[in-house]
Symmetry: C2
Subunit: 348 residues, 2 copies
């Protein structure tokens, strides 16, 4: 099996390590609580950028603080620094080598913002540049397609938000839910045989759409990227709400749609889009912990039940990672070495 | 010809009207200058969301104020209000009926933020809800695919930023450049015969990629949406920097790539991606005002020269609109009535 497959299966152990590494997170959360933070600004690329989207939803929902995702070219192409008064600026990069993310952090340091980097390389330029560095500690990631570093980035971000939010008015018990994530990721990995069998149906797929809403929009995006990288299939991700503002015209019976439909506040809207998809007779792949939703799909993957749907992205993405890896294998491709890509990409 | 075609050609007149309607914009800019704005938060969907992306780049570049794009589901699905202290909140919707955008504006009003709506319907709920309403005055837009309302939204946003920035440290003369936009849009429309002839080459296209960087990332996204809506071709847009972080694995000789390569700070990076595309022998469509870039394409569309590339999105998008409309026609489709879409889409 490819390294990607092995690294997907390391995730319960990697996330278990994250649970026991909360000292610095508590210290940072304490500092953030003592400040009047008006804005969180996050810089990242590719898979790391999808961890940033996950964080945007978590922070806005649990802390009520607006989150902006960086357009790095403002710094690297237009050479403008921003006013980061009362801002927390976060840079995320697996390798810690992302030159554009580094530039955002360096600029933010100059304006006195609190800066945090999240990397899997504690000696990297980005790890060194930020005021605080949170280490993924995921072990070396050999496959070009990032998997375990993504879930560890999400886990660290969720821990930080949970600590920062503390007890104040949080409509959820994210901290308790996070404790159970490693064991439920392990349970999700038991779908591997199921995925192996069902993926054959998609051998000749050239295109697909990935839909969700709310916190799992980040996972629709990450699922699309994994499929693009590992299989070259042209996967497009949309929030189901955005999909209805134009892209829905592309619906075609020959283009499968994968929908992430976890039980939670967004399920009503996702159910609506599933109804539209069924009416259009598209080939529907459902990833869900709701029996009714699963029954709608030509193909369904059952993720665990959970108390708080804010952790559903961990299980949804594990399904997407396995699906992308298995699809690459039956298509005769090597997911560890996609054409045109290297493990570390530096853009300015 | 379809209504979309007529409405594309109304744009010089619509933008000319915008030039003479700056009274309220000056008043708002004066108020913004007197405040200490730390954040701009913009809510919009579909085409209007691409005007928001354009505004993000303009505001960050010319004013140095961070801009966040709304995840509307925070308000409508998770029922959370954000802390908008020292924020300007903008809602953009052609019809002014977008219920999710309205909810963001209503929430922002409650927290004391300055709110602005931009619509083409002065009696609409969104127009009424915001503290200030900026009217596109584009005339009725009958085609489902928005064209003239998009360029008028961009024009109004650019006017607002130019007035707000005033004389302080602006590395550009955006105001003077905007005055010439209507006449240069008219010049761009003279490409219609050229586009009509060249589009035949793409009769059988099912997929394409749209790339750019910096301010024209918004136009890559809008070009993709126009092609999706009018022709059902699966168009995907990327910032060239993001493209290199994974999606580039999808490159295929049979999938054309349209690149917006205007002279300006981002051209160096765009040139780099063009070099990679040429090496991969992809079918390349170049929209540019640089002779060298145009010569790289199997097909090139020449937009006008300009003093400030911040206005290049107006000319690039007009080319994309005409291309999408003409491609729909040779494919035997009706761009005014795409399948599965209505003019006003309300999502919550």
């Amino acid at each position: 099996m490819p390294k990607m497959w092995d690294e997907i299966h390391e995730q319960p152990a990697v996330l278990e390590r994250c649970i026991h590494n909360t000292g610095l997170i508590k210290e940072i959360a304490g500092q953030l609580q003592s400040q009047d933070i008006h804005l969180v600004y996050i810089a990242a690329r590719g898979t790391s950028d999808h961890a940033a989207v996950f964080a945007k939803y978590l922070i806005e929902y649990l802390l009520g603080i607006p989150v902006a995702l960086a357009a790095a070219s403002i710094f690297t192409v237009y050479h403008r620094n921003l006013n980061f008064a009362k801002a927390l600026v976060i840079g995320i990069s697996q390798s810690g080598e992302a030159a554009d993310v580094l530039e955002v952090i360096q600029n933010a340091n100059q304006t006195g913002a609190i800066t945090i980097s999240i990397t899997n390389a504690p000696d990297s330029p980005l790890a060194v540049a930020a005021r605080f560095h949170l280490y993924c500690n995921a072990g070396p990631e050999a496959s070009v397609a990032a998997t375990k570093t993504f879930t560890s980035q999400m886990f660290i971000l969720a821990q930080l938000v949970a600590e920062w939010a503390g007890q104040r008015n949080v409509p959820t018990n994210l901290k308790a839910a996070l404790m159970k994530v490693p064991e439920k990721v392990a349970a999700t990995l038991e779908l591997s045989q199921d995925i192996h069998h069902k993926v054959e149906r998609y051998l000749l797929m050239n295109e697909c759409f990935m839909l969700s809403r709310g916190i799992n929009y980040a996972i629709a995006m990450e699922a699309a990227l994994k499929i693009q990288e590992a299989t070259y299939v042209r996967a497009q991700a949309f929030a189901s709400s955005d999909f209805q503002h134009g892209p829905i015209a592309m619906l075609d019976r020959n283009i499968p749609v994968m929908v992430f439909a976890s039980v939670g506040p967004a399920l009503k809207d996702i159910h609506e889009i599933i109804t539209i998809l069924k009416k259009n007779q598209v080939e529907l792949i459902v990833v869900s912990n709701n029996r009714e939703m699963l029954a709608q799909g030509s193909c369904g993957f059952a993720i665990p039940a959970m108390e708080d749907d804010l952790v559903s992205p961990f299980f949804n993405v594990v399904v997407a990672q396995m699906f992308a890896c298995q699809l690459a294998l039956i298509k005769g491709l090597d997911p560890d070495h996609p054409r045109g890509l290297h493990k570390v990409t530096i853009t300015l």
